[in-house]
């Protein structure tokens, strides 16, 4: 079928890259945004705009809230507190049993608490960063049967194949390692940028595609519940036997001991082991029973793994039951591979480098799509084929359309009032609709305004969407100012980086989009002038 190995690799790279490039672009773009997910949350929820606080007193502040969230102590299953090192509001999760029509089911109640006041926040806030962009990154928010995760995972696999086939078909991998020639024609410079962003950031692309696929390995190889189910159960029994952590209620009522004292003991133990840290996560089970269990974990700051070094207490007596053993070699490798992707740490230089790596991935995929169109558009124009029109429209939808959708959700977030009129959908639903609607509009516009590509010309959709991005970015910054009073001068002078950073990023996006729009317009005008003069010369001849 193929004349050579290289042509086979070219086929794989081109066609899988084209089909899955659209999905991968989303995974890379929203992945890059997820580096700043908690910061985006703070931009979207004005009540969360304050510095990260230490964990408040459990006994005085958190316990009354949990008691209010749970119908009774007998039915409580888990109380969880998550105060990671970048969120200002603390998440309280209460899971309790409900017996609806005889079936034992569980219900989950989530609240956000302001640790400064000890009060839960009002209204249904939507954490756009960690509750929308984050799931979008790995599942496209297609939850039915885990379909989105399968699609993204398959695309991740093909990303690995595209990277390897890309290396095979690249003729001058080392000789052109540092090469970008913007003056050498559109096709050449597009390919240069594709190669540069692909090769230079290869370690990033490879490790993120690989670890991304690896994190969901249980989804596609569920051997723990299929082939190795018996071994899995046996292992579970053994672990329970060795552990001192209770797995069920004793049936004897006992009040909860001071969790604040347990937190102090956990902090003391971490410091004694040379790893001083704040409490990040607390898990409580069987509260009110003599077998109550309290697990306390540190907030990861400069480590790749969270939920390590947990200290487990008997909740009724406050005595230490056990300390998590040091991870074995397999756990360490697994922790490194998943931790490098999930980045629980607060290492800002590394986080920024990750964001740049993700954007380099976007540039690599986008230039790949552009090169596909450029290479074929004149040939397709001669043949009268519309295929290239579809590809270009989808490229516009994925590149500029995705940015428009992202700006759409930010704008609507700032436009919606805190309390919505009765009968309206919830905040999170409305903001999601805004996102998809903005993307749909961008797609419709892209199909409408890319028709000239089929005649071998530049599509006006690119320029128009660039300008739309500029207007929308500036609008988002202005709306943030109008609705919260937090303009850039204030956030910069307060050095409140989560909000100042996002506003500055939006203005940078506006400037880049305006420059890109101007440049594309000039190029299109030059191209049409050349085409006209060629046509006039031909007519004269």
């Amino acid at each position: 079928m193929f004349q050579s190995f290289r042509s086979a690799m070219t086929w794989i790279h081109t066609w899988f890259g084209l089909v899955l490039g659209f999905v991968l672009m989303g995974a890379f773009f929203f992945g890059a945004l997820c580096v700043f997910d908690r910061e985006i949350d703070k931009w979207a929820i004005p009540e969360a705009r304050f510095e990260v606080q230490p964990m408040p007193s459990f006994d005085r502040v958190l316990l009354p809230e949990f008691e209010a969230m749970s119908p009774s102590l007998e039915t409580m299953q888990i109380w969880g507190i998550v105060a990671d090192n970048r969120s200002s509001l603390i998440d309280l999760v209460s899971i309790h049993e409900t017996s609806a029509q005889g079936d034992a089911r569980t219900e989950r109640v989530v609240k956000m608490l302001d640790p400064r006041t000890g009060k839960v926040t009002n209204g249904d806030h939507f954490k756009i960063g960690s509750e929308f962009f984050y799931p979008l990154h790995y599942s496209l928010t297609l939850d039915w049967q885990g379909l989105g995760e399968w699609i993204v995972a398959f695309s991740g696999m093909m990303m690995l194949a595209a990277l390897i086939s890309g290396i095979v078909i690249h003729r001058k991998l080392f000789r052109e390692f540092f090469t970008f020639r913007p003056g050498k024609g559109f096709r050449r410079s597009t390919l240069d940028l594709h190669n540069l962003t692909g090769v230079v950031a290869l370690p990033f692309h490879f490790f993120f595609a690989f670890t991304g696929v690896l994190i969901f390995v249980g989804q596609y190889f569920p051997i723990g519940t299929t082939q190795l189910a018996q071994l899995h159960e046996l292992h579970e029994q053994l672990e329970i036997g060795e552990s001192k952590i209770p797995t069920e209620r004793s049936g004897h009522a006992a009040p909860l001991a001071s969790v604040d004292a347990m937190m102090a003991e956990a902090r003391r133990r971490w410091a004694a082991h040379g790893m001083p840290g704040e409490v990040g996560v607390i898990h409580l089970r069987f509260v009110g029973d003599a077998n109550a269990h309290v697990a306390i974990y540190p907030a990861a700051t400069n480590s790749l793994q969270d939920l390590l070094n947990g200290v487990h207490f008997n909740g009724a007596t406050g005595a230490v039951l056990q300390v998590d053993p040091a991870p074995n070699a397999v756990q360490q490798v697994a922790g490194f591979l998943t931790g490098l992707h999930l980045q629980p740490f607060r290492h800002w230089p590394l986080r920024w480098l990750y964001a740049l790596g993700g954007l380099a991935g976007c540039v690599c995929i986008a230039t790949g799509l552009l090169f596909f169109v450029e290479k074929r558009k004149h040939q397709h124009a001669k043949q009268g084929s519309q295929a290239i029109h579809v590809v270009d429209a989808l490229a516009v939808t994925t590149v500029t359309g995705m940015v428009i959708a992202t700006l759409g959700i930010l704008i609507v977030n700032r436009l919606l009032p805190d309390t919505l009129p009765a009968g309206w959908p919830r905040h999170d639903d409305l903001e999601r609709y805004a996102f998809w609607f903005a993307w749909l509009l961008a797609m419709a516009h892209a199909f409408w305004r890319t028709a000239p590509v089929a005649q071998g010309r530049m599509a006006p959709a690119w320029v128009e969407q660039c300008w739309t991005i500029t207007v929308m970015s500036v609008t988002a910054v202005l709306l943030n100012w109008i609705t919260t009073g937090d303009h850039l001068l204030r956030t910069l002078s307060d050095t409140y980086w989560p909000v100042a950073g996002l506003d500055l990023a939006l203005l940078t996006v506006a400037a880049i989009a305006a420059l890109a729009g101007r440049k594309i317009k000039r190029r299109a005008e030059n191209a049409s002038m050349i085409a006209e003069s060629v046509a006039q010369d031909a007519a004269r001849a």
């Binding site: 390692f177 540092f178 970008f180 950031a201 400069n302 490194f336 931790g339 290492h347 480098l353 790596g357």
Partner: protein, 108 residues
């Protein structure tokens, strides 16, 4: 503060290292100096300097963080450095003369 300075030093040495490696390639030497390597060609010296630069950057990263994080910072710093050098070569190639004084246009 000490950590921040060490990390900045790690970024600077990785950029210098990538710059030296780029200069050791004929095509980029031409971009920077406008002519081919003189004789003897400084290729080996430049490659050695480049390797030293990247190696120093790794040591600096390791002096700031645990090896697990430091390795990631180093790999990503190399990526950022390679991008910087590629774009310097595109728009301000003569800047790289600063890295290697013998790299200058020769008369004739």
């Amino acid at each position: 503060m000490r950590d921040a300075l060490l990390l900045i030093a790690a970024f600077v040495t990785s950029i210098a290292g990538m710059g030296w490696l780029a200069l050791s390639m004929d095509v980029h030497w031409r971009q920077v100096c406008g002519n081919a390597f003189g004789s003897p060609a400084p290729t080996k010296r430049l490659r050695a300097l480049g390797t030293l630069g990247l190696g120093t950057s790794l040591v600096l990263c390791l002096s700031v963080n645990h090896a697990s994080i430091a390795s990631l910072v180093w790999v990503m710093a190399l990526t950022a450095a390679a991008f910087s050098i590629a774009f310097i070569l595109t728009w301000r190639a003569h800047w790289l003369r600063l890295l290697f004084p013998p790299a200058r246009p020769t008369a004739g």
